[in-house]
Symmetry: C2
Subunit: 441 residues, 2 copies
Amino acid sequence: MELNHTHDANTRSWLESANAPGTDFPIQNLPFGVFRRKGSSETFRGGVAIGDQVIDLAAIARAGAVSGAAAVKAVNACAGDALNDFLTMGPAAWRALRHALFDLLKTGASGPGVNALRASLVPQAEVEHRVPTRIGDYTDFYTSIHHARNVGRVIRPDDPLTPNFQWIPIAYHGRASSVVISGTAFHRPMGQAMAPGASAPVYGPCRRLDYELEMGFYVGPGNALGTPIPLTEAEDHIFGMCLLNDWSARDHQFWEMNPLGPFLGKNFCTTVSPWIVTMEALAPYRVPFAHPADEPQPLAYLDSPGNSAQGGVDVQLEVRLEARAHRERGIAPDRLSATSFRHQYWTIAQMLAQHTVGGCNLQPGDLLGTGTISGPTPAEAGAIVELSAGGTRDVPLPGINAQRRFLEDGDTVILRGWCEKPGAARIGFGESRGEVLPAVG
Amino acid sequence: MELNHTHDANTRSWLESANAPGTDFPIQNLPFGVFRRKGSSETFRGGVAIGDQVIDLAAIARAGAVSGAAAVKAVNACAGDALNDFLTMGPAAWRALRHALFDLLKTGASGPGVNALRASLVPQAEVEHRVPTRIGDYTDFYTSIHHARNVGRVIRPDDPLTPNFQWIPIAYHGRASSVVISGTAFHRPMGQAMAPGASAPVYGPCRRLDYELEMGFYVGPGNALGTPIPLTEAEDHIFGMCLLNDWSARDHQFWEMNPLGPFLGKNFCTTVSPWIVTMEALAPYRVPFAHPADEPQPLAYLDSPGNSAQGGVDVQLEVRLEARAHRERGIAPDRLSATSFRHQYWTIAQMLAQHTVGGCNLQPGDLLGTGTISGPTPAEAGAIVELSAGGTRDVPLPGINAQRRFLEDGDTVILRGWCEKPGAARIGFGESRGEVLPAVG
């Protein structure tokens, strides 16, 4: 995707909070979500983050604030309580609306459209969010070779990587109904686990509760059953990206998953961040595909010059843990790890192409997860089972002089993501946050 | 579930085709689906099968044909193009509507309601169907120990059964978007396969295409995230059952599925039969739970007296194959195998309870599959990979003097199911049918 004037790092907004250093939401970002005033009975509707405010897309649609036929049609599709209709419209519509908002927000803009937009603003501190689409199906991939090796070592020390990893963007179907918005607490799941050497499993609360640092991406127009999307067209079907926490009950998962994969070990909760950062906003941060030259090269249907040249995305990611003790003592959450999405073995375009190659149909609003994002060094691991080497080593929480091998009740896990580099505007994803409540059962 | 007057085998209908020996749809059945006139642009609406006709539920709702507040509310919920609202209402509503229809259909019934129902009838030969609910999530179980042993022998000859099988109703998340209605043809999927001894996989059309004989069941009210459904309440959340064919690309599946389970090997197509036979209609055919005394007994959360006494369902099942040659020569499809659902190792109540035990939420209209249903003898296997011992033995098609090891282009696989025993009315499921078209790619 080529850069255009909406990527110009020098453009500023008349909204001062959008120009604040370190903001996730400058005028160059403009991510989409669904919101209403916190605690109200308002209907949810589409919104776009700018600085510390949310643009109410339903309000500006009613007010006729945006101009241009494509942008008008697009903003009207954002007035409902999910973004599916907007995502169905495809890249031209997405771009038209983002550009129209950019033009209304930049310094010096004026007129009735600007006034209507200004009147629609709601402070982010006063809103609550919903999962931004009606997710038809949710799929989770497994595309970090470092994560695959780290986890593989726990289960198969001599042969950590399965032979298919370097050939297939591996994935499994996840549970759409239990995808929740950031801020939703969940109960530690009950389930079966088999202790090493035991002759029978035990039913009880999960004892090896974990998070997984992932990114998610939302499907745009999609495809009909039986009609694959080729790699070269894959990104036309990706609206944008978010943060995703694939909470995992490792004891339940490892007991149940042979031979058909994870089920209850994953389906009790998956958390997404409220804002979808568009692929257009991410354009300055595209990087070459990381597939190493000394690894098997992709089969032809998973290979293209565009994918090689800029299939990757350089998103900085971090995981923080906020225990009860942090909150009680007013101490900032401890950082558990940090890495970048640029290290992923397969690109999001390859994931989407692979998903459809057998004919499976993707629908507007579907959610795809990247799988745990672990970087090349041990400190860059995206799950605590990796940091604690399968629960055999303490992971320090220096802020409260404590440690973890797995998550405890009251722990809140916070994922953050952002992009920055010289000459480009810093843009961010906000955060994904979820608290572990005690088991019920 | 106790038997009532709707199960009386002696009751007959004024509609003669409902009294025909061998009909799947006597007055004691009354299964629900969604239909419209074939090739028309009518909107789909709820329907109930009786004899060789379909009762148009939208028409009888408009006409005020049913009486009783509960039945009126229920039939109104069936007027739309999916049964989700009706399934949300729960067993009392389901029963009220089935009983109201029974009363209108029985011999001797008369009055304006009967006249309106009669006027609503559409011949089954003139209708087309849609998947009867908007499926939020589709889950497929793996609960036949005979299937698990048969398939396990292909992959792990010395140790065919994984250690969790006798403790957990194993399942994986399937793909909801590619669930299609009986009669929908699909293309042989493209994908990756790794030949034995090869150093790299090959991309191409599936060479080991299979069917799986399964039953499906649809979720009623469901549960909130974090609130499991106990085993003793599980059947209040099951509306009814259907036939389900979990088409499988074995070469793609076996290459991709380690460690996260089947994905492209399954998600290109899943076929369901049009009619949902209600749990109430199946009440005469409930049988003791088949869990053998010499196997590990279920953990407490998967055990109840009711489940032991009548957790099973005795549904007769068969698989037939109709090749192009059968059609060209006017020869009836060959029967590949036959068995009963009574042999399943876990019950549908146990499957549903297990699905929610970690807190996962089920929603009205969700579809759960039982996994391949293979009986105790080799001739009762529910997939061709079992009948052909992993593609090493011919499976005869005597009608056309041919054989198969896997499916060929032009093959149509037909699943049928019915219940019969002395003293009870025979009821049937109709059929699930799908044709393999050549690969595109």
